[in-house]
Every structure is written in C-alpha cells, then in structure tokens.
Amino acid sequence: MSTTELGMPGSHGLADVPLAEGPQTAKDYRSDQEVRWCPGCGDYAVLAAVQSFLPDLGLRRENIVFISGIGCSSRFPYYLDTYGIHSVHGRAPTLATGLAVTRPDLSVWVVTGDGDALSIGGNHLIHALRRNVNLKILLFNNRIYGLTKGQYSPTSEPGKVTKSTPLGSVDHPFNPVSLALGAEATFVARALDSDRAQLTEVLRAAADHRGTALVEIYQNCPVFNDGAFDAVKDPRERVQRIIPLRDGEPVRFGAEGEYGVTRDPRTGGLRVAPVAETGEDALVVHDAAAGDPTQAFALSRLDSGDHGPVVPVGVFRAARRPTYDDLVRQQAGRSGGDSTLRDLLRGRDAWTVEPHRRNTP
C-alpha cells in the first residue's frame, strides 16, 4: 500500500470511506474473541446494535477502526472484526485524532465509558469535541466504575453509597450532554441501551455527521449499579419520562403527547408543562442544526423539575462546522510547492567550500 492521499473534504461523515462491494451481515462483524461481559450487562445490547448497524453503512470492513480506553466498555473493539486498538485509560480520543487526521479513508470510532471519558480522559474528550475531528465517540454511561468493582463515577448521583463513598458521594456529577455542548461539540446525542431502534437511529446520524459526534448511551450495570435507569425504562413510566427529540418538530411527549417543553420566562431556560396549560404554540421546536447551541443546552438541562425526572433522548445537536482534520489536510494540500528535499536541507543561507580553498594543515 502506498501513502494516503490527502484529499479535500466531503460533507458527509463517511464521504471518503470506500464502500464494500457486496452486502454484509452482523456476523461479518463478530470477531473470534469470546465476549466476557457480565451476564445481563447493557454492553451486550450495544454491541449487538453496532454489529447489526455497521452492515447498513455498507463500508469496507477494513476501513473501520474502533479505539477504546480502559474500562468494561473498552473491551468493545476486541469483539468486532474490524481494525481496533484497546488503548490507555482516557486516551482513546488522542489515538483516534492522530489516525483520523492522517487517514481520511477510515471510519474512526471511539468507545469509552463515564469514568474513561469524563474522569481520567476529560481533557481529551473536550478537546476532541472542540476540534471537531471526524470521529464518533460512544460514551457508555452506567454511572459507576465497573471494572474496578463499584466505585462512584463522575456521573453518579450525589449521595451515592459505594465502596469508596460509604457515607454517600459528595461529588457533583457531570451531565455528559451538557458538557459536550459546552465544549463546542457539533454533534451530541443520547440513547438507551434498551431501545435498539432509537439507538440505531442515533448511531446512523452520528456516522453521517462530519465532525466529532458524541453519543451518550445509558447502559445498565447489573452487578454494581443495577437499575440506575429504571425510572426511564419502566414500561409504564417510560412515556412520562422520555422526551424524544425530533428535528423540526415541537418537543412533546406522553402517551398522548400531553406534555410539552416550553420556555420558562422565570429562568430563561426550558421547562416541562402540560400542553393543555401552555397551548401548542408555546412549545419549542427542536432545531438540531441551529448554529447557536443555547436551546440544545437548555434541553440537556431538563432532567428534573415539578414533573419529576425526565430524559430527553435523540439528537440534541447536529451542526455543520469545518472539521479539524479536513482543515489540516487542506493546509497540507495548499502548501504544495515545487521545493525539493535537497532545497529544504540546504536552506537559504548555504555556502560552498571548494576543494582548492582547503588550508594546509
């Protein structure tokens, strides 16, 4: 193989990635490694969703790379028959950035968890998001440290009693979607491990996006934090709790769409209210592509209130901004001169020592 051509950017996340010649199945993406997550782990559902979604992209399998950090979810690449790196705790975005910058022909994915991405790797996460490198970050959020057997994580709720917080955690948690939007992310979404259809839809949108995409996936840890998301997964409760975000549509939910999201003049933010009270015209219309992330941020803050816990899911933001890797490659393409390595080594102030000028010893 020769070196990669550094081409001009496409507008689609996968524009430069070559397509497979024939159809693929989920089986094509299963590696020969035995999957070793605990029984009932939410990671299985995400792995199955990814393995069944990748064939739909129709990419050449050898042009897909999954890079992970450390933690339960970071074993993910071993189970996918693509190229992959199981790297260092928190640092997966750095390897992915270097790879994506040099290889526009690859579809690069990062798999990470709440501890990996938001604690030890927080710095790399925010910088990947602000740079808008063309890579996709799947953040498995189970609100606990699983691989180290049950310490609280940066998304654990205050007061959480764990081995390292016997009196309850006094740490204030991150909201990953809010954090990503604050870090200038161009694509931010949230999905549940238990809702295959919605997860797949979000993964597809992330793959299509050119730039860094962050997908927070609520993922249950049955051993150390079982039921963390029961409030939004309970079949009866769910419709009262999940706010599906649909681009271009008013934000409303409930069995009959009886609840809606409206501006709160008191705070300048958003609040949940019965549509009967507010009227349909008062509902905010979701605009994922908006240049200004203010409304997306306000949506991400809708987690509690008079209505009780709610969780907006779907694509919060999918805005266009030039990607770091495209801009780097454009600069490289523009700087093409006809200067040779010989010219470079000589520089501008070279001089020649002629043989006849040699002094006598």
Partner: protein, 623 residues
C-alpha cells in the same frame, strides 16, 4: 583636524570566543545568531552557546534577566562553543556582573556606558561602578555609549526613539563585525528580510549595524582588527544549523526516505518547541503537525497515526516524557514504530527549563511500568541531530518499536556549520506493510504477533488492508495469534521476546580514538559532551599524555564490542552532565568500575576543566 588613519594590518588569530550579553530584551540572541551566520558564511568553523533565562522578560537590568550568546569561531575544526570569552560585549551592568567571572585575564570588554547609570548599577548590585574601580583591571576595556550612538545615527531616520534604541544590538554587532573582518552582506540581507513588513525598521537596523562598523573604523580606540582565516573544512555545501532544526529536517527526510507521511503530535515545551515550529513549515513534504492539548495527547496522536501507517513522532523535554510514559508502554506492547524526542533540560520537576543537562537517561531506560525495553539513542552535536533522527526512524520502522532520542538544551539551541548531505545518499527507510494473511496454521487468518525471524518485528498491517483486520492493545497478547492472553507461560515468553527484540537491534560497534595506541585511560561519553570531551582530549594530548576516547550513540542496546572496549583500559572515565547515570548503567551491565565525572550546573563542560580532571585520572592522582 585628525590625521588620516593609517590602517594597520589585522592581527591573525586561530580562533576567538565572543560573548554578547545584555538584558533579555536587548536582542543578544539575534546578535549572536548573526555573528555565527556571518562567520559561517566567511568559512570559519564555529560553535555557539545561547544562554537565557526561563522568564521571557525577567526584571529589567537585573542579573537573573541577563541573556547571552557565545560564538566560537576558528580557522580549524573546533569542537565546543569555548570555555571563556576572549571578548565580552556587556550591554548593561548586570550583563557585566553575570559574566565577569568567566573572562580570562587580558580579555577584551566592550561596555555600553549609556546603561551604566546609578540605578542600573544598583540593580546589578554594584556598590561602585566597575568602570571606575579595580573590577576590570587586567582586561582591555572599551567604553562605548552604544545607546546614544545608535540613537544619534537614527536621529533622521523617522523611527521612534524606542525603536532606535532597540537597534543597539545591531550597533554592537557592527562593531564586532568590523573588529573581526566579518562579511556584512548576509546580515543586511537578513535584516531586510526579517523586517520586510516594516521597511523603516529594517533600514534603521541596517543603519545601526553600519554605524557600529563605522565607529570601529573611525575611532582610534579600536586600533587593532583581527583576522581569522577560513577553516579547512571538507569540501561541500554547508549551512549553519541548530540541533532542533537538524532534528526537524532529519524527521522530514526520514518520512521522505520511508515513503511515509509524518505526523508530529507535540505540546509546546522548552527547549523542544522549535522542533514543532520547524516541522509545522514543511507540510509539502507530507509532514502534519498537531499541537495537542497536552503531552499525553501528543504521543497518543503519534501512536494512532502509526497504527494507520504514518511515521509517528512526538517531541518533548523531561517533564513531558514523564507524562508520556504510559503511552510509551502501550507503544512497546503494541509494537508500533514511534519516534520520541526528549530535548533534555535541568531537572527534576520543572527544574532549569532553559539550561542543559543529561537528565533523563535513566528515565528513558526505565521510566515505564513493567519490563518495557525500548531503544535509546543520542546525537552528539547540533548537525549530528539530523543523522540521529534518521537512525531513530530506521530502528523504529525496521523493528516496530518506539525509539527514544535524547537531545539536550545545548544541542537544541547550539549551532555549527553542517555539511549538507545529498538526499540520495541518505539511508533507504522503505518499509513493507503486511498485505496477506500469515497464520502458520494455514487457516488464512492474520496473526498480528507472528515475528520476523531476523528482527523479531511483528507485521505492520494497517487499516484499509482487507483480510488483516485485527485488534491490538495494552493487555498481554498471545504469542502469534495476538488474542488477549493471561496465560502465565505466554506472558513470560512475550516479556522475553520483547526484550530479545530490543537486545538484538543491529547497532554498529564503537570505534576508539587513541592516536598513538598507548593510552590506558579511556574517556567514554554520550550526547552533547562529545565536543567538550574531544576538546579536552586534545588538551591532554597536547600536554604529552595519552588518552583514548569513544562516544556512544546507542545507549540501548549498547554496541556489541562495548564490554570488550571497557575491559581493555586500566581506567574508564565517564563525564556526564548528571550524577553518573551512564556510569551506573555500565557498572551494572559490564561489572566495570568506571569513574564518573559529573557536573550539573546547567552548563556544558568546559574543555579546560575537563582536561584537568582527565589529567588527574591519567596521573593516578584522583578518581
């Protein structure tokens, strides 16, 4: 009316050491840099030593704020920037104070008297003016009001008083250029290029430069000029080069010779940042630079790019290397090519950011968890940084391993004439990526940990290659298939294989320089001590004493003949700018009781001090 000056013939010298010293904002680095360039263009051999504080602008007029630049040029091949200045240009009292002790008796001192005010004398902690007491007795002192002469020369130029004053470094340079018969075209061209956007500033600097020259020529105070003939350098094309520039060019050349794109992931750090700056300018040679959010991200990006088939490089200094160590371990484990450059500085911790030290040899050798061997090499001169970069790339690519290259502050910022190589003469670094399944069982699978029999390198299979999809990572892998393996026998085998691969790297034998073959003391160095050790050995031999010397480029693995060489001498002396890091490694590896001669002042060895130490050992006076 003055009588016409009768020009006296210049006095011929073999060499001279000139040091410009002034406040951090006085432009001393630029003056020194130009004197070097003009001397190089004239054909002298030369070596330089910049020395500046870590603060960008330390308190004005104080000793900690003094910045200096020493140039040593000669009509023969010299090895060091010189121990002590023959000429000191002191732009203010603090500069004189900071450098006075370095001057040998009889040295020439040129002081900018305009700055010797009561306030500045106080700032430099002088109770009385050193120009009026005994401080400078024994030296030839020239008192020149450089600030006011420069302002006067620029009175009608239209530039502000402040800009006029700032050109005084060019006045000082002009005066030195006259004294030592330096060509002036280069500096004038340089100034017009540097200040192209502000032509009036360019002309002001040229005028100040000429005013300094004319001052020398018309003032009878400077009765003597000197001539230092061009050196007898081997024929060829030369340029002046610093170690950092040479490293950057070497990496660029390595990418070209390997046919690979280069990705530098780097976080700014003194004294390594110039490597990033230089490489950022060479995108047309397939070099991409990524200024990362931190040191870890720099090496992470380089390793990610290496997985994709690029020559991954990261550059840093000691504190940054500490941060990179975990990903260095991953690079050892994943066996991917990577070049890691550590431009060493005084440590520990933040230490002495702008001063040199051979601080990190043990960090390079051992600074990782587990058994994580990797090759370590060191350049010995600014120009040699180019060859060392190519050698680092050769080893990294051929053996699929991270390679640590240990430069230091003295090499990074020091400069010398460099014989520019022809690109076609550079080593061929082409690599072959894996293209076919390789499992020995014939199953058609790809096994990432099947090794080349001669190098023990594993295949480099890059994404985009169909059929070779595989996963690598920090967990231990099975020998051959490369799946996760916690098997104890497999771990032991893999640990030993990784070690054997590094131990088996093809490294040339060292050669010993022992002109008359009767020495029983060997001086062994590594890195930037090459010049001072060479100069010291010349002095020892000039005193009629035999001494042998050799210098290590490869610190891991050591050259195959090193043990035998060490055994062949009664005594081995290892001078190092640390507390004996190499000496300890040699004792451990070969059981030889070497003598460590160490110095940790942040400054290179002086040839004379080192010569004295060697003479003591040779005469058996002390260890």
């Amino acid at each position: 009316m003055t009588s016409p000056t009768v020009p006296r013939p210049p006095v011929r010298l073999e060499r001279v050491v000139i040091r410009f010293a002034g406040d951090s904002g006085d432009g001393m680095q630029l003056a020194g840099d130009r004197l070097s360039a003009d001397s190089a263009a004239f054909g002298n051999d030369l070596a330089t030593r910049p020395d500046f504080p870590a603060e960008i602008r330390a308190p004005q007029g104080t000793v900690p704020g003094v910045s200096s630049f020493q140039v040593h040029f000669a009509d023969y091949d010299i090895l060091t920037p010189g121990d002590r200045p023959d000429v000191l240009v002191a732009m203010n009292p603090a500069a004189l104070k900071a450098n006075a002790a370095d001057m040998p008796p009889g040295a020439t001192v040129i002081v900018n008297t305009d700055e010797f005010t009561r306030r500045n004398l106080q700032r430099a902690d002088y109770a009385t003016s050193p120009l009026e007491d005994e401080t400078l007795s024994g030296h030839v002192v020239h008192q020149v009001p450089m600030s006011s002469l420069t302002r006067g020369a620029l009175a009608d130029s239209g530039v502000s008083r402040k800009d006029a004053e700032r050109a005084k470094n060019m006045f000082a340079l002009g005066l030195i250029a006259w004294m030592y018969g330096r060509p002036t075209d280069g500096t004038e061209t340089f100034l017009r290029r540097k200040f192209a956007a502000r032509p009036e500033i360019a002309e002001a600097n040229v005028t100040a430069f000429r005013a300094g020259w004319n001052y020398g020529e018309t003032t009878e105070a400077f009765a003597t000029t000197y001539e230092i003939a061009p050196a007898s350098l081997p024929p060829g094309t030369y340029r002046q080069i610093t170690g950092n520039t040479a490293l950057a060019l070497g990496l660029t050349a390595a990418g070209q010779r390997a046919g690979l794109p280069v990705l530098l992931g780097s976080y700014p750090i003194t004294p390594a940042s110039d490597i990033l700056h230089e490489l950022a300018r060479h995108k047309e040679f397939g070099v991409l630079t990524l200024q990362a959010e931190d040191e870890i991200a720099g090496i992470g990006a380089a390793l990610g790019a290496a997985f994709g088939g690029a020559l991954g490089v990261t550059s840093t200094s000691g504190p940054g290397l500490a941060l990179k160590s975990e990903i260095l371990g991953l690079a050892v484990m994943t066996e991917l090519p990577l070049v890691v450059i550590d431009v060493q500085r005084g440590g520990p911790s933040t230490g002495l950011p702008t001063k040199t030290e051979q601080s990190d040899l043990l960090q390079a050798m051992h600074g990782r968890n587990g058994e994580a061997p990797l090759p370590v090499i060191a350049p010995r001169s600014p120009g040699d940084c180019f060859d060392a970069a190519l050698e680092a790339a050769r080893i990294a690519l051929a053996y699929r391993t991270p390679v640590l290259l240990l430069s230091d502050g003295a090499l990074a910022n020091g400069s010398e004439p460099w014989l520019v190589p022809e690109p076609d003469d550079l080593p061929d670094l082409r690599v072959e990526f894996a293209t076919e399944p390789n499992s020995p069982d014939g199953s058609g699978a790809f096994w990432p940990y099947v090794r080349d029999e001669s190098t023990l390198a594993r295949p480099w299979a890059i994404p985009g290659t169909p059929g070779l999809e595989h996963r690598i990572g920090g967990l231990e892998k099975s020998d051959g298939p490369g799946g996760i393996s916690y098997d104890s026998a497999n771990h032991e085998r893999m640990v030993r294989l990784r070690q054997a691969k590094i131990d088996g790297i093809d490294v040339p034998d060292i050669e010993v320089d022992d002109p008359d073959g009767r020495a029983d003391v060997l001086v062994l160095g590594w890195g930037s001590t090459y010049g001072p050790i060479g100069a010291a050995c010349r002095r020892v031999r000039a005193r009629g004493l035999p001494v042998a010397r050799t210098h290590l480029r490869h610190l891991r693995p050591f050259p195959g003949n090193l043990g035998a060489v060490l055994q062949a001498y009664r005594q081995v002396v290892v001078p190092e700018m640390n507390l004996g890091q190499l000496a300890g490694l040699l004792r451990a590896a070969y059981g030889v009781d070497v003598v460590s001669h160490s110095k940790v002042t942040g400054q290179p060895f002086g040839a004379e001090e080192l010569a004295d130490a060697l003479v003591s050992v040779i005469k058996g006076e002390s260890a």
